[in-house]
């Protein structure tokens, strides 16, 4: 195989610029992401990381610049269009419905139905969920469990499993371990790392440099909306990244 699938470009951002009124949030940002690659987005608070995620996922439209997704020019009008194209987001504050079951969350907004009356196909949803959490090794009591009864790590596991299930191309993770303990963080990192094998492109925002160095292939640094640079994780060290983040 000459043309390995891991080399295909999934996302290309070119000269992205975003301002809110007179305030510039993102200035001239360019980045490309390949399938099976994990890129970390780092920077201080207010550097524009979350804005960038929202631009990619269709929540915001860039003021100028172009986005191409899967080889095609993309201009998502809302998050639904981005999702339909194969982009999934895992939010920092978990977008899960606490009183519902794991499987209903997995299929939230995309429930499977059967028959002429459009009955929910609970069995199919349960089975698929059980299969997926097993594959990703998310340890939950069962697909029937209510989200409220799960730990923080298990919840984030479910959120990532859901994103993985629906993302055909790209998963965006906005500080997926910010609220988790040590053991739970390790588990979630394991799951994130396994997304590579599924040939998904992953863009992860993290405040933990240790985590960034453990997980990523490349690191992209933002400071006050400006792109400071992109480094291969293998060819850089924490000192360089820290000085890029802080500017000293």
């Amino acid at each position: 195989m000459l043309d390995k699938p891991t080399s295909t470009e999934v996302l290309r951002l070119q000269n992205i610029h975003k301002s809110f009124g007179g305030v510039v949030a993102i200035e001239d940002f360019s980045l490309e992401l390949k399938a099976g690659e994990i890129v970390a987005l780092v920077g201080d608070n207010g550097a524009g990381k979350s804005t960038l995620i929202k631009i990619i996922s269709g929540v915001y439209t860039p003021t100028s610049g172009s986005i191409s997704f899967d080889g095609k020019e993309a201009s998502f009008r809302d998050a639904t269009e981005a999702r339909e194209a194969g982009i999934e987001v895992v939010y920092q504050d978990l977008a899960l419905a606490d009183e519902q079951s794991v499987y209903m969350n997995m299929f939230l907004g995309r429930e499977k139905t059967k028959g002429p009356l459009g009955m929910l196909d609970r069995k199919a949803m349960r089975d698929e969920t059980a299969q997926l959490v097993k594959e990703l090794d998310v340890r939950i009591p069962s697909a029937n469990a209510t989200i409220r009864n799960l730990s923080g790590g298990q919840r984030q596991g479910v959120a990532i499993a859901r994103a993985t299930h629906w993302a055909t191309k790209l998963v965006l993770l906005d500080e997926p371990t910010a609220a988790l303990g040590v053991a739970e963080t390790a588990k979630v990192e394991e799951i994130v790392a396994s997304l590579k094998e599924r040939n998904l492109a992953v863009l992860i925002i993290s405040h933990s440099l240790d985590q960034v160095f453990r997980l990523s292939d490349r690191i992209c640094v933002l400071r006050r909306g400006q792109q400071i640079g992109v480094r291969e994780t293998a060819n850089t060290d924490k000192n360089e990244i820290v000085s890029m983040i802080t500017g000293v």
Partner: protein, 317 residues
């Protein structure tokens, strides 16, 4: 032992309050009023038939509460719908009368829904206002007069009639519960209602059209309140502005005790049915006990308070 404790914690007590309460109240009245006609088939059937309108309102309210909203105006909708239907039936055939009642209910629900879903006004305030607004309209519609319903097929269909020996009010109750339960439990709409009430942002980012869900639940509640109005008009063979006026507390209590969460994300139609029957049985028993109207109100208030407290206790844990 440990496992047993774990199990009891996992099984949500609030879901069963209504069944236990129903049984306790039934046993209490069966023992104390056994000789006073409580246990006769006629009386028990009566309880079920009398609760038909409240059960149907309760089904609508389950949808609204599960979606994280509230409707205080359904009592006024009952009156306006019943009056509209009765007035139309005075001149036009059955079909138009039914259409008027249901149409008015759905239209008021739509009005509430647009304000709640698209203007994002709090449903509590919107429906508090429309409750007064439509109560006023009900009063002015016929200058406080009650309107007799003389259409016999209407009375048979929504009131005293029966099919194969089964009273029509019972059929309406069973039909509404069956359809309500199906839609709530087994369809996408039901799932979206729960998700919207549980975590609107999560529902939104998952592609659920949250405003549309909110509009839908207000319309469902309005439509069912309209149906309840038809049942009142059919049973009493007349419509009056007071119809539905005193049902607000009864219906909300029935739904909450039934196991539906006041703050959304959780609901049950069957629980609401049993809750409504429980409230009806309570009314019936207290009357048979010979309590004065004021004493009935006091006892009912206390019992609702206890039941609601138990229902909500482990939610606030």
């Amino acid at each position: 032992m440990q496992q047993l404790l774990e199990l009891s914690r996992r099984i949500n007590l609030s879901q069963y309050v209504v069944y236990i309460g129903f049984l306790l109240i039934f046993l209490f009245f069966a023992i104390t009023l056994g000789d006073d006609g409580f246990l006769t088939q006629r009386n028990l059937t009566n309880i079920i038939l009398q609760t038909a309108p409240t059960t149907i309102m309760a089904i609508g309210l389950v949808f609204v509460l599960a979606a994280g909203e509230i409707d205080l105006s359904f009592g006024s909708i009952v009156a306006v719908a019943a009056l509209s239907s009765a007035v139309i039936l005075g001149e036009y055939p059955l079909f138009y009368g039914v259409l008027a009642g249901l149409g008015v209910g759905i239209a008021i629900g739509f009005f509430n829904g647009v304000l709640v879903a698209y203007l994002r006004l709090p449903s509590f305030l919107v429906t508090l206002a429309t409750m007064g607004l439509f109560a006023g309209i009900a009063r002015s519609m016929t200058n406080l007069r009650s309107v007799p319903v003389i259409n016999e097929s209407f009375v048979g269909f929504f009131g005293s009639g029966s099919l194969f020996g089964v009273p029509s009010l019972l059929l309406w109750t069973l039909g509404a519960v069956a359809v309500g339960h199906f839609v709530f439990r087994e369809t996408k709409l039901g799932a979206h209602v729960l998700a919207t009430g549980d975590n609107p942002r999560a529902a939104q980012v998952s592609g659920i059209k949250v405003p549309r869900v909110r509009l839908m639940v207000m319309m469902i509640c309005g439509g069912l309140a309209g149906l309840a109005g038809l049942l009142y008009a059919g049973r009493l063979q007349a419509a009056r502005y007071t119809l539905g006026e005193s049902d607000l507390m009864t219906v909300i209590a029935a739904v909450i005790i039934g196991g539906t969460a006041l703050n959304g994300g959780k609901g049950t139609i069957i629980g609401a049915l049993v809750g409504s029957l429980m409230m009806g049985m309570l009314n019936n028993g207290l009357i048979l006990m010979g309590l004065s109207v004021s004493d009935q109100m006091i006892v009912r208030g206390v019992i609702i308070l206890i039941a609601v407290a138990i229902s909500l206790r482990d939610v606030n844990r």
